[in-house]
């Protein structure tokens, strides 16, 4: 068990180093920071001085090592536009994004778990077909289009929910206000996530419902609910845990787009602004942090998986 965990961590180390290398290469591909400060009023000598100050006169691998050293100290560089420190910018905007992602993950599971189990238990029934069709609709609808529909219905027509930002301007921030602002983005994000999860839980449950130990449980006469919940779903849960890690990447991607539509003041909105402004230190800082977070999530789910499932082989 410990051997397995140590092995997984050892595998993750070269991957993290690789991620920093990819990130550094992309940042260099993106262009020279000097080009961005170039202008009529900047003299050639000043540029040369800046070049030395930024360490751009050194060979590329030395630049990488310097960058990596700074990275270990928590310095992700500075924004070209606002001159703020990138780590500071990420720290101040990651909260709203995590709030949105966490809520969407929870809501999607609240929808998907009962729906998936119902679908599997009543396979080929009308309810099953409806749920599966709806789950396909959830994964097939572009998030931004669903967001537009929601804004049209709930903001424009019914005037129930606010469509932009995290809190109403000019009022004191209250939890109720934030929740009101969260409803639509969370609904949009959890729709596609629930769509995938429903089909995943359904097939995991279907597989388990055919197992011998479930037949035994039924034969014992312990009641339908306990058979399905205690013996069925608990085992299906193991496979669900493993896909959560994969979902984090997808969820983060859709969050970037949805934050844009709802002007949600999170990492996605900040990143999109950076992309439009070609503010590469910010973009690459975000890329790096998210990639490492995703990798760590996968590592944790793998370990969790090994821990939950006693039958897994630690090869």
């Amino acid at each position: 068990m410990y051997k397995y965990i140590i092995k997984r961590i050892l595998i993750a180390i070269p991957v993290i180093i690789g991620i920093t290398i990819i990130d550094f290469i992309i940042m260099n591909l993106a262009g020279n920071p000097l080009e961005m400060i170039q202008g009529a009023r900047v003299s050639q000598e000043a540029l040369e001085v800046k070049r030395v100050v930024l360490g751009l006169d050194k060979p590329i691998y030395i630049q990488y090592v310097i960058w990596l050293k700074e990275l270990l100290r928590g310095n992700l560089g500075y924004s070209i536009r606002s001159y703020q420190s990138v780590s500071q910018m990420i720290r101040s905007s990651i909260g709203p994004t995590l709030l949105l992602m966490g809520a969407s993950l929870v809501v999607s599971l609240i929808i998907a778990v009962p729906a998936g189990i119902y679908s599997a238990v009543h396979q080929y029934s009308k309810g099953d077909y409806t749920i599966v069709t709806l789950s396909f609709l959830g994964t097939s609808i572009p998030g931004f289009f669903l967001a537009l529909i929601f804004i049209y219905i709930f903001t424009v027509k019914l005037n129930w929910l606010p469509s932009s930002g995290m809190s109403t301007l000019g009022t004191e921030t209250s939890i109720v206000d934030i929740i009101k602002h969260m409803v639509m983005p969370v609904m949009v994000l959890s729709a596609s996530l629930a769509g995938t999860n429903i089909r995943y839980i359904r097939s995991a449950m279907l597989e388990i419902l055919q197992k011998d130990y479930l037949r035994t449980a039924r034969a014992k006469g312990i009641g339908r609910f306990r058979v399905i919940y205690k013996h069925g779903f608990r085992n299906a849960l193991i496979s669900v845990v493993t896909v959560i890690g994969m979902h984090i990447t997808l969820l983060f991607g859709s969050t970037i787009i949805i934050e844009q539509v709802f002007s949600w003041p999170g990492l996605g909105l900040m990143t999109m602004n950076a992309i439009i402004n070609r503010d590469y230190p910010v973009i690459m800082g975000v890329c790096l942090i998210t990639a490492i977070v995703v990798l760590l999530t996968n590592l944790i789910t793998d370990i969790l998986y090994a821990w939950i499932d006693p039958t897994i082989q630690f090869k």
């Binding site: 690789g18 990819i22 097939s140 609808i141 572009p142 289009f145 990447t249 787009i257 975000v286 995703v294």
Partner: protein
């Protein structure tokens, strides 16, 4: 009982027939297939059947649907119906071409990784892990910002970012197939590696690749739409289903000109859901464990 030698051709025929029988059971997939064929034909023939030039001003600004313009006109007076046809053409092209690029890359890397194993496998799989750790949309957005938007770039970017899934799938299949006796027989017989890889292993993993590819087509169409919606994809005046929705970010379009965004968005949903239904039915049809 009459024993009959079944030749390979007939075996194939029977297999395909049975798969088709199973595919047909999925009514929604059949409907999706019909819809997709009709839309592909309309998209292919767009230059001849579109009533107006998609990029030319044809009438007044933002005119509501009428007999003359069945889906109305957009903010600069272009015919929405003609733009829808041309936009579908672009969206389907991006979906198919990006999938072709990513599938080729993924299949090659997966085959190499699974067949050779050892350190080659180790290097390719760790590289796959790295690419998979970056959020997909973020990589696409950053690449679009670096290499610039545009049709060819979008196809290449989507293709070059989305191969890890295929690579992992192919690798897994190769590992499983390699354990079969017919491959061991090939090895014992001393057949060349190239033959075993391309004539024995690859054909046996075509079905899962195709099934996976259908979902990649769907995802690529969605991503093109999202990218163009954000203004980082296909650039106007060229129409794509995504950039046609770009205008709906303004509140006046959203509230009072529904013909500018509802038909376009619904078309994306219908195209993508059709492809997803077909993929699901294919999975069922080619699943060897099914009955």
């Amino acid at each position: 009982m009459i024993k009959r030698k079944i030749d390979k051709k007939e075996m194939n025929y029977r297999y395909q027939n049975r798969s088709w029988e199973r595919f047909k059971r999925h009514k929604l997939a059949l409907a999706g297939l019909v819809f997709l064929i009709v839309m592909s034909l309309l998209a292919l023939l767009a230059p001849w059947i579109a009533p107006y030039d998609p990029n030319e001003v044809a009438g007044g600004f933002s005119k509501a649907p009428s007999l003359q313009f069945i889906f109305g006109t957009d903010q600069v007076g272009r015919d929405v119906f003609s733009r829808l046809l041309h936009g579908t053409r672009i969206s389907l092209l991006v979906g198919l071409a990006a999938t072709a690029v990513s599938t080729v890359i993924g299949v090659i890397l997966g085959l190499i990784s699974g067949y050779f194993g050892g350190w080659v496998d180790m290097v390719i799989m760790r590289f796959t892990d790295m690419v998979m750790s970056f959020p997909y949309i973020l990589l696409v957005l950053v690449s679009a910002a670096i290499f610039g938007p545009g049709l060819l770039n979008i196809i290449l970017i989507l293709g070059f970012v989305d191969w890890p899934g295929v690579a992992r799938l192919v690798r897994g299949n190769v590992l499983a197939i390699r354990e079969n006796n017919f491959i061991k027989a090939d090895l014992v017989a001393g057949l060349p590696g190239k033959y075993i890889l391309f004539s024995e292993i690859l054909p046996n993993t075509i079905a899962p690749i195709l099934i996976y590819a259908t979902s990649v087509v769907a995802i690529s169409i969605l991503d093109e739409a999202a990218l163009s919606f954000l203004g980082m994809g296909i650039q106007p005046p060229q129409a794509s289903l995504g950039n046609m929705l770009n205008g709906a970010q303004s509140l006046s379009v959203l509230t009072s000109k529904p013909w500018l965004w509802i038909p376009t968005g619904s078309l994306i949903v219908l195209l993508v859901i059709s492809i997803n239904f077909i993929g699901d039915a294919l999975r069922d049809a080619f699943d060897p464990s099914g009955n």
